[in-house]
């Protein structure tokens, strides 16, 4: 009744493009689907369990928080919690144990989002906040990367073994895990070894791009993630500014230092195809809530993400740094939004009226 009255007296426009939050979120999920399915194929049933448990934990936490705040639980239908959980699952080790998954989903939604006041209010990307918090708290679990064990291959674990690994009833078999390219490169750099040598012997660029490599679901097949991102661009769910700025700044910085030293620095192409840069550029940094709203702001934000990420990767303490970079730039978003307002019609960039009053008064 009340809702009816409110709608009954509302100002124009009396037309709408039929978009909805739910539709946007589901479009993003859809764009992630190919890479996700490919990830399931590569890492088998444990990856599926990891994925499902994180998403369910996120949705359940969302419902709980809404209920605690006395809001309608049907708001879960906006699919924003599903997307947060999904993105988080894409950035976690594919064979994460159950408690890590549930904790991650809970942390992302409760601490990352609802503490700030719910959807639209959070300062930091909830998925990245959860990932980084867990990375610092549980560094071993969060860097346990298994080699690929495609479904149907001999080494792929069966259902019971998968459940056992997921529930930590049995350990991950010896020799199943290893270091990702970026991890190995960091170790090599720290140990004074040659990155060029390492890359030449153990890793392949093509494989990294297509996804025949270890890592989280979101960093194995950069190709499929890129395809999903381009589809989002085409559907205008995201704009090109942030992804392009982030990829270009990464490429430029990495290229510059690669030219300085092939031994010490990794090739820019490896930077682009490893560590979930595509996922970060198209799906994480473009999060509406935590990125700037103006086009110029988006360009700066994207370029900043790329630069911070490269700095941490090259000289910082962590091998991959999409999460840190995005969180860092998230913190700057309010400032960027405040300073870089779009130029209003009839005004200059400072907000003063433009001065092209030219029509002379006829006396």
């Amino acid at each position: 009744m009340n809702a009816h009255n409110e709608v009954a007296h509302r100002a124009a426009p009396y037309a709408h493009d039929r978009s909805s939050v739910n539709r946007i979120m589901l479009q993003v999920c859809l764009a992630l689907t190919p890479a996700t399915l490919y990830g399931f194929y590569l890492f088998g049933i444990p990856a599926l369990l990891t994925f499902l448990s994180i998403c369910l934990a996120a949705i359940a936490t969302e419902a709980l928080c809404l209920w605690l705040q006395g809001q309608s639980i049907t708001r879960v239908q906006d699919a924003s919690a599903l997307l947060t959980g999904w993105l988080l699952a894409m950035s976690m080790p594919p064979w994460s144990p159950w408690w890590l998954c549930l904790g991650a989903g809970f942390f992302a939604i409760a601490i990352g989002k609802h503490i700030y006041g719910g959807i639209g209010q959070n300062v930091f990307n909830p998925a990245m906040l959860a990932r980084v918090a867990l990375l610092i708290s549980f560094p071993v679990h969060m860097t346990t990367w298994v080699h690929i064990h495609p479904l149907g291959s001999e080494s792929a674990p069966g259902l019971f073994q998968s459940l056992g690994i997921f529930l930590q009833l049995q350990p991950i078999p010896d020799g199943y895990t290893g270091a990702t390219l970026l991890g190995a490169a960091k170790a090599a750099a720290n140990g004074g070894g040659s990155i060029a040598e390492l890359v030449a012997t153990d890793y392949s660029l093509a494989q990294a791009f297509v996804g025949q490599t270890m890592g989280s679901l979101g960093e194995t097949s950069e190709l499929l993630v890129l395809a999903g991102g381009l589809w989002l661009l085409k559907n205008r769910v995201i704009s090109w500014h942030i992804p392009v700025a982030m990829l270009v700044s990464t490429l430029l910085l990495a290229g510059l230092f690669y030219m300085v030293s092939h031994e010490q620095y990794l090739s820019p192409w490896y930077h682009l195809t490893s560590g979930g840069v595509m996922l970060g550029a198209f799906f994480i940094a473009t999060d509406y809530v935590t990125s700037p709203s103006s086009a110029t702001g988006k360009l700066i934000f994207g370029a900043g993400c790329g630069a911070v990420m490269y700095v941490i990767r090259a000289w910082g303490g962590f091998p991959e740094a999409v999460g840190f970079a995005v969180l860092f730039m998230n913190a700057l978003t309010p400032l960027i939004d405040r300073i870089l307002k779009p130029r209003a019609y009839g005004r200059d960039h400072r907000g003063n009226p433009i001065k092209n009053v030219s029509a002379r008064k006829v006396s």
């Binding site: 409110e6 007296h9 509302r10 100002a11």
Partner: protein
């Protein structure tokens, strides 16, 4: 030990005396902010705030015993200026009283001129034995006219909503 005690005591006494002196020398006759607030108030001494006049209201506002939105003629604009001056959170205030306008029932008015003599803003026009009328843009709604009217023909009502001042209400959106 004894010397130390003595020195400290002397020091304390000296500083205390200095403070006392300073208080006398730099004494402010009246809280200057009270004057500032009073200057902002309409000054019609209408008494709608419940205080005898604008200066009393200003004092009470500075002391915090009167709300900064207690002045109906000042309206929302005054409330905001005062809130900023006195550092009051606007959201902590309750609903402000609605500004009123006086209207004279011309079937009852005898033209006694009492009301227009009482009006602090000269908002009532008319002459002896002629029906009086209220100029609404000058009326502060102070009800002084109503109080003196022997025929009880003046009523105070909130300003009516017309096509000129109507606007959309704030949506109850999430």
């Amino acid at each position: 030990m004894f010397v130390a005690t003595l020195v400290l005591t002397a020091l304390g006494l000296l500083l205390g005396w200095l403070l006392g002196l300073a208080a006398k020398v730099f004494a402010v006759e009246e809280n200057p902010i009270v004057n500032e607030v009073e200057a902002l108030l309409p000054g019609s001494q209408c008494g709608q705030c419940g205080f005898p006049g604008c200066s009393a209201a200003a004092e009470a506002m500075v002391e915090g015993t009167a709300a900064v939105n207690c002045c109906p003629p000042g309206g929302r604009a005054l409330t905001e200026t005062l809130a900023e001056l006195l550092n009051v959170d606007l959201n902590s205030l309750g609903d402000a009283p609605v500004p009123q306008l006086a209207t004279i029932d011309d079937t009852l008015c005898t033209g006694c001129t009492k009301c227009y003599k009482a009006c602090p803003t000269d908002a009532i026009v008319g002459a002896t034995r002629q029906i009086h009328a209220v100029i609404s843009k000058a009326c502060t709604g102070c009800s002084k006219c109503k109080d003196v009217c022997p025929e009880d023909c003046i009523s105070l009502n909130p300003e009516p909503v017309t096509l000129n001042n109507w606007h959309w209400t704030k949506p109850e959106a999430a």
